[in-house]
Assembly symmetry: C2
Homo-oligomer: 201 residues x 2
């Protein structure tokens, strides 16, 4: 479920130079085609026709450049209403199945794992991811829930999902890493259901 | 709750040279005193009296060197029996309170966050962490539980705790990052209780 590259570029940062835009365009293509690990600042700079030092000047590090161009592998405004409306008793199952289906898609998974890696590597990248998640996921989820402690509920839901990314896809602990998707959804859906709708203790 | 540096060093890898041991000794001290980010391979090599290239030769990267010397900030064999024996209906609460108390301690938290960072940075470090967690935590937890799917239960418990490390301490999403420990324990204890003892769906 990739989104059109550059869809959110226009107007995103006022006063950007052509050089900066050329770097962003090149970075988007390299990260999308090669993944986080195989993309290099040198190759991104070469395709943008600039010196690698300029990339460092504008973006500081590969982590920060990555989070400047990365987007969630789905469009929250398109996906969240369907997950959060409907039967409130099964919202945890819908969220679990959606998260697992995203992480089952190799391209989407690579993007999510890249975000987690970047955030774990550098405090500035962690701050960028925090802002992205708060704006694009936690706030709309909390608004749709309309429950007491709704932001905390969204955070807790996110904590179980990012924990799944780490345990299943980054560290790869067994048997969790090989668990079939339906069994995994059954195991975590009640957790998400409680975080989203039940008394928090 | 730091453990004695070097406690598990003897005999850990057969055929190590004096140089390798000197690097490990220096690395332990640097990571413990400076934390993962501020420790440098150059300074570790200098204190060991070796060329930095030798550190790269033996250990490949800072991540791998870190995971060669890091240990959990508690001794599982001392802690797990008390957590897992006793009233089975409150094992989730004991696990939640213990995890939160470890992460409340700055030195212990730095070590855990360093492990997560190293694993997120590099597949080889992720493999080392997977082996450490499987041997030191998941296997003894699964044996003590004696339930069906006990390893999966231990994995799922770990996934929520590592998710908490990421969401609360690495990415720092709010209000979860500022939530007081008792409220957090109340929120996640039922999750751990279900993963450890209830039907998994």
């Amino acid at each position: 479920m990739p989104r059109e590259a550059g869809a959110r570029r226009a107007g995103r940062r006022p006063g950007t130079s052509g050089t900066r835009d050329a770097i962003l365009l090149s970075a988007r293509r390299h990260f999308a085609e090669l993944g986080y690990d195989r993309a290099t600042l040198r190759a991104i700079a070469a395709e943008a026709g600039v010196d690698p030092a300029l990339v460092a000047h504008f973006f500081g590090s590969k982590q920060r450049l990555f989070l400047s161009v990365v987007e969630l592998p789905f469009e929250p405004a398109e996906v969240l209403p369907g997950l959060l409306s409907g039967d409130r008793e099964s919202v945890g199952e819908r969220m679990a199945r959606f998260a697992i289906s995203v992480l089952d898609d190799p391209e989407a998974r690579a993007r999510v794992v890249g975000m987690v890696r970047a955030a774990a590597s550098e405090p500035e990248a962690a701050r960028m991811l925090r802002e992205l998640l708060t704006r694009s996921l936690f706030t709309p989820i909390a608004e749709a829930l309309g429950e007491q402690d709704a932001m905390l509920r969204a955070n807790l839901t996110g904590s179980q999902i990012v924990g799944l990314v780490m345990a299943r896809h980054v560290v790869g602990v067994e048997p969790l890493a090989s668990l079939e998707g339906d069994a995994l959804a059954a195991a975590i859906a009640p957790t998400l259901q409680r975080y989203l709708t039940a008394p928090l203790g």
